[in-house]
């Protein structure tokens, strides 16, 4: 969730609420959905909020929201703009991956230290959120005084957005003393290195020129020539990105913040080869909203004037444009079913449909003022069959003396296979040297057949795990139980543990390529653990569920030879039972014998 650092003094000044205490401000902000997180080292107040209202990423934006909440402002506000003096010319050579540009000029800006910090913070926060770390949109702010128009060869004040080869030109970027080419910036400059991945696939690099030359390398870094200073008064703002709508919204949010500081916003002409745009985009969009929907969603009756009032208090405008179907009766004090046309200011990037507007109205009304109401809806509850079965098997195992466990489904590959004496099927694939062998192995990997020991199936594999300890989904449950035993050698024995949980193995016949199943694993760790002890408990479980158990001998690397059996339930293979091999015990630092069994839960159905 976005976090923004603001100065409460600044907030008081911008809202005109000099007398509000810090505590009052915090309460008012919480009501807006901004949660107070604490104070920064610089003495700023840190606020966290959900990433919908990105216009609140600055103290200016938060102040605007508070002014609406306090009733200081009402309705849609659009700053006045002056007509364009500058043109942004987009050349055919712009990188096709980043074809869009937008911008504005802000004049008469009065930047002090705090205002400059706030502006830079807003820029960074917009990069991190809407800008998707500069991939989708990036902002450059320049000191207009340092720019010289006419880059496009005309008399006009114009700058040019074009694409350049990495070594085609040079400039002095911020935080550097020497001329660097864009290519050198990417390989040598710290900021360049950080953002190199953003333009990694670009054939040509984005570049912005004025008459003097290259002054900005978006989305990576600006040039030093146009760097913003405290005494800068006129700013040129440029945004480039992969989507026009997104950068226009980012630009609008920025311009609103500057306007709140007293700046005059001046339009620019954005000239594409095939069309011309006037920016910033301060267009007010409208959406239609049915009164009936407002009442249904909020669960209260409202008069038409109430809806319009709530809209204005949210910084929207609403007017009745017609009447929809339904509604009709006015007896409950409601207003029938008028249709409103709601105007939405340009800094709102979050309004996609009518529900977003209703949410605004609800917030203005105060959601916590609504009376909870248990819905008059009758349904019949119940459990899924698998969950009923799982519960009864667990009850039976607990009755047999097992301690029920709940282990992770994710596990380290070595825990699932190597430490149990098994070989990972994928390791076998990787080990195949000759090509034909590798191909065969690949074909067969994941396809467990009758000869695959329980647990030996190929696993689902995490693409980029944080830790190898959780790199695959387990293919059986016994490795988890062995790990619990390993971690509890200091606890009293006997340790009779059981778990009913998920395991999965790759299976091409499944839609997801993965066969997920519930498995029942059990271990008896005690000085007198034996095959017979395990079998007597498994047999009790099978009797309880009315299924027939057979245990023909089998070989399984996790168990002692001659003391392992396949578990066959009602004639079908269902699992394995035996005494755990001493090598596996030693591997898990165990000093007591362990007898174990594992069967598929579905076999007990």
């Amino acid at each position: 969730m976005p976090v923004v650092d603001i100065d409460f003094e600044e907030l008081r000044r911008l809202t005109g609420q000099e007398e509000k205490s810090d505590e009052e401000l915090k309460t008012d902000l919480f009501a807006l959905g901004l949660e107070y997180e604490g104070e920064t080292e610089e003495g700023l107040q840190q606020l966290e909020f959900a990433p919908d209202r990105l216009d609140r990423l600055s103290v200016e934006g938060i102040a605007r929201s508070l002014r609406y909440q306090y009733g200081e402002d009402r309705g849609v506000y659009v700053p006045r703009t002056n007509s364009p003096d500058w043109r942004y010319e987009v050349q055919e050579s712009v990188p096709e991956e980043r074809p869009y540009v937008t911008g504005a000029i802000a004049r008469g800006v009065n930047l002090d230290e705090a205002a400059l910090d706030s502006l830079i913070q807003l820029q960074e926060k917009l990069h991190a959120t809407m800008g998707r770390d500069r991939v989708k949109g990036a902002i450059g702010i320049h000191d207009l005084i340092m720019l010289k128009g006419g880059a496009a060869g005309s008399e006009d004040n114009s700058i040019e957005y074009r694409g350049v080869e990495p070594e085609e030109d040079t400039f002095v970027p911020l935080d550097a003393d020497a001329e660097l080419s864009p290519g050198e910036v990417l390989s040598e400059h710290p900021t360049g290195q950080e953002y190199a991945p953003v333009v990694g696939d670009y054939e040509r690099l984005p570049a912005i020129y004025d008459e003097i030359g290259l002054f900005s390398f978006p989305p990576v870094i600006n040039g030093r020539r146009t760097e913003l200073e405290i005494d800068s008064t006129d700013l040129l703002i440029e945004l480039t990105g992969t989507d026009q709508w997104t950068i226009d919204r980012m630009g609008a949010i920025l311009c609103y913040a500057l306007a709140a500081r007293g700046a005059t916003i001046e339009e620019v002409v954005v000239e594409y080869p095939d069309r011309e745009l006037i920016r910033p985009d301060f267009g007010v969009e409208t959406k239609r909203l049915a009164h009936e929907r407002v009442e249904t969603v909020l669960g209260i009756a409202l008069a038409s004037e109430d809806v319009i009032d709530l809209a204005e208090r949210s910084g929207l405008d609403a007017e009745v444009t017609g009447s929809g179907e339904g509604g009709g009766s006015d007896e409950d004090g409601s207003a029938g079913n008028p249709i409103y046309e709601v105007s939405i200011p340009p800094y709102r990037q979050d309004v996609l449909g009518p529900l977003d507007l209703i949410d605004d109205l609800g917030r203005a009304y105060g959601f916590n003022d609504l009376e909870p109401h248990y819905p008059d809806v009758s349904t019949v509850g119940g459990r899924h069959e698998r969950s009923r079965l799982g519960r009864k098997v667990r009850e039976t195992l607990v009755g047999l003396g097992f301690e029920d466990l709940l282990d992770f489904h994710l596990i380290a590959e070595r825990e699932n296979y190597d430490r149990m004496g098994l070989t990972s099927p994928d390791a076998a694939v990787g080990g195949a040297d000759d090509e034909a062998g590798a191909e065969n192995a690949t074909d067969e990997a994941g396809e467990a057949d009758a000869t695959t020991p329980l647990g030996g199936a190929a696993p689902a594999r995490i693409r980029e795990p944080y830790s190898e300890d959780y790199g695959i989904l387990r293919t059986w449950a016994l490795p988890s139980l062995m790990m619990v035993l390993e971690n509890n050698t200091h606890r009293p024995y006997p340790q009779d543990l059981a778990e009913i949980g998920l395991a999965a193995g790759r299976d091409d016949s499944e839609n997801t390529g993965l066969a997920e199943f519930r498995t029942v694993g059990a271990v008896l760790a005690r000085t007198d653990a034996s095959y017979e002890a395990a079998k007597s408990r498994l047999a009790a479980l099978c009797r309880a569920f009315g299924v027939e158990l057979e245990t023909p001998p089998t070989d399984h690397p996790s168990f002692i030879d001659g003391r392992a059996a396949e578990v066959r339930i009602d004639g079908a293979p269902a699992g394995v039972i035996g005494e755990i091999h001493p090598e596996v015990l030693i591997e898990h630092d165990l000093e007591v014998p362990v007898a174990a069994f594992e069967v598929g839960l579905d076999a007990l159905r």
Partner: protein, 503 residues
């Protein structure tokens, strides 16, 4: 004076001048030590004897030790057979000697290594020669085993005992040794003469069948003494919480969902109207799978409708996301980050066919988050997911449902903080007060599903939904401070065994 038989036996075996241990009394009287202890305490109560308690290290034979006591130590068996086979003169085949000594499995290694260690002979390339000087009858370890069995290991040299413990033939334990001496009153009573009352220790089937139980007196026990600790089987504490949540939800009319843990991003995110460039969908937060990597089939028409919602929005004035969307990403497999993927499968009709309102569904199941593991974060945890489908649901219905649910868990002051989720609007974070610390903590996230979620799924009425981590609820109800004690292979059995049952 009349006393139960055992008490009389103790009294008679005890001495006024010499401390006699319970073990010594047992050897003398042939009674069980537990019976004698009980009797001794009774006598002490009467003031007839004094009991002195002493913590003492004791040695006992392990089952293996007892076996060797009967069958002989494997190395001795090996030596005797070897000597008979003339291995004192010429080396004999190891295999034959082992066979003749009837040694199998683990016992072979044990025999061979100890044979060599105790210099009963040498083993060289499969040949075994026996030392003619050795005397198996004087074997210190065999002697020590006998001594331990007789309860008199005190005279045995400590290194020999250590060796037995190392071999796993004997076990050391701490026990309380009690010794008794006659008091003056005891001596007097004995001199005056005591008659044995008929008493029994254990009620046997014979006593019951014969009716003899009428005539006997039952020996009394020390009923205040500690009993052995029993653990027994029990349901995992977190599972108990999950079961309780399920019971509550079923009581409120919710039906349980089930579905895949590894699912296409389409079901996990796209159907939920999560833009494909949403930060939560970057590879760092997801548990994307490399193998298998893609789902085979997705319902084509549904995919088209969902893509359209992402690009164009839903409804006349609807607006899409201005974000890239690719079917390829939608097909990618990942471990679900929330069980809302199940809700999508059910609401779309994919799971169990089309649903007509009203419906209530829930699940309490595992979800996965690619994060670092610490005291409050797990990579996998249980999510409580629930939704209600009906015509014309309001925010108040949502509040009423959650108020009802949380009240069952003692949380009565629930607060609704307006929130933002890409898939619900309006959305609320739910806050409640921690019953112990009084802190306001987040206990859930909720909202009405957006039109952009529901319409592509073919749902024309309203659906409200919420989610909550079960572990958070469990930490509240069990007081656990480290979530890792509750869940996973790092679990501490001690914690699980002693966790208070909640109901």
């Amino acid at each position: 004076m009349q006393l139960p038989e055992v008490q009389l036996a103790v009294l008679e075996a005890a001495s006024a001048t010499e401390k006699r241990t319970i073990a010594q009394l047992a050897a003398e009287t042939g009674e069980e030590t537990t019976t004698l202890t009980g009797a001794a305490f009774d006598l002490a109560e009467e003031g007839l004897i004094e009991i002195e308690e002493r913590e003492k290290d004791s040695l006992e034979l392990t089952p293996e030790g007892r076996t060797y006591r009967e069958e002989g130590l494997p190395e001795l068996r090996l030596y005797r057979v070897a000597k008979e086979a003339g291995a004192t003169e010429t080396a004999a085949s190891m295999g034959e000697v082992i066979g003749a000594a009837d040694l199998k499995g683990k016992a072979v290694d044990i025999a061979l290594s100890n044979f060599a260690r105790k210099e009963y002979g040498k083993i060289d390339s499969g040949e075994l020669s026996a030392n003619a000087e050795a005397d198996p009858d004087a074997d210190e370890e065999a002697g020590a085993i006998e001594a331990i069995a007789a309860g008199g290991a005190g005279d045995v040299a400590p290194p020999v005992l250590d060796r037995l413990v190392e071999r796993g033939l004997a076990e050391r334990s701490q026990r309380t040794e009690r010794a008794v001496t006659l008091t003056e009153e005891g001596v007097t009573a004995l001199m005056e003469g005591i008659e044995a009352a008929d008493t029994v220790g254990r009620l046997t089937p014979e006593l019951l069948a014969s009716g003899e139980w009428h005539d006997v007196e039952f020996r009394t026990y020390d009923v205040e003494a500690d009993a052995d600790r029993t653990y027994g089987g029990r349901t995992h504490v977190l599972r108990e919480t999950a079961e309780r949540v399920k019971d509550v939800l079923i009581g409120m009319g919710f039906e349980e969902m089930d579905g895949p843990h590894a699912d296409a991003d389409f079901w996990i995110n796209d159907a939920l109207f999560m833009p494909q460039d949403h930060p939560a969908r970057t590879h760092w937060d997801r548990f994307a799978l490399s193998e298998p990597a893609e789902i085979d089939d997705l319902p084509e028409e549904l995919v088209e409708r969902v893509e359209n919602a992402h690009r164009e929005g839903v409804g006349e004035d609807g607006e899409g996301y201005h974000s890239p969307w690719s079917a390829e990403f939608a097909r990618q497999l990942a471990l679900r980050g929330h069980t809302t993927s199940l809700s999508m499968r059910y609401l779309s009709g994919e799971a169990i066919g089309d649903l007509e309102p009203p419906q209530r569904y829930f699940s309490v199941e595992k979800v996965y988050r690619n994060d670092t593991l610490d005291a409050t974060h797990l990579l996998e945890f249980f999510q409580i997911e629930g939704w209600v489908m009906a015509e014309d649901l309001s925010v108040r219905d949502l509040m009423g449902t959650f108020t009802e649910f949380y009240e069952r868990f003692g949380i009565t002051d629930i607060e609704f903080k307006p929130h933002y989720n890409p898939y619900t609007e309006p959305s609320f974070e739910l806050f409640g007060t921690h019953p112990v610390t009084g802190e306001l903590i987040e206990i859930g996230n909720s909202g009405l599903f957006r039109d952009e979620v529901l319409r592509p799924l073919g749902v024309e009425c309203d659906v409200m939904a919420w989610g909550l981590a079960l572990e958070r609820l469990a930490m509240l109800t069990t007081g656990a401070e480290d979530i890792r004690d509750l869940h996973g292979t790092l679990a501490d059995l001690d914690f699980l065994r002693n966790a208070e049952v909640s109901y």
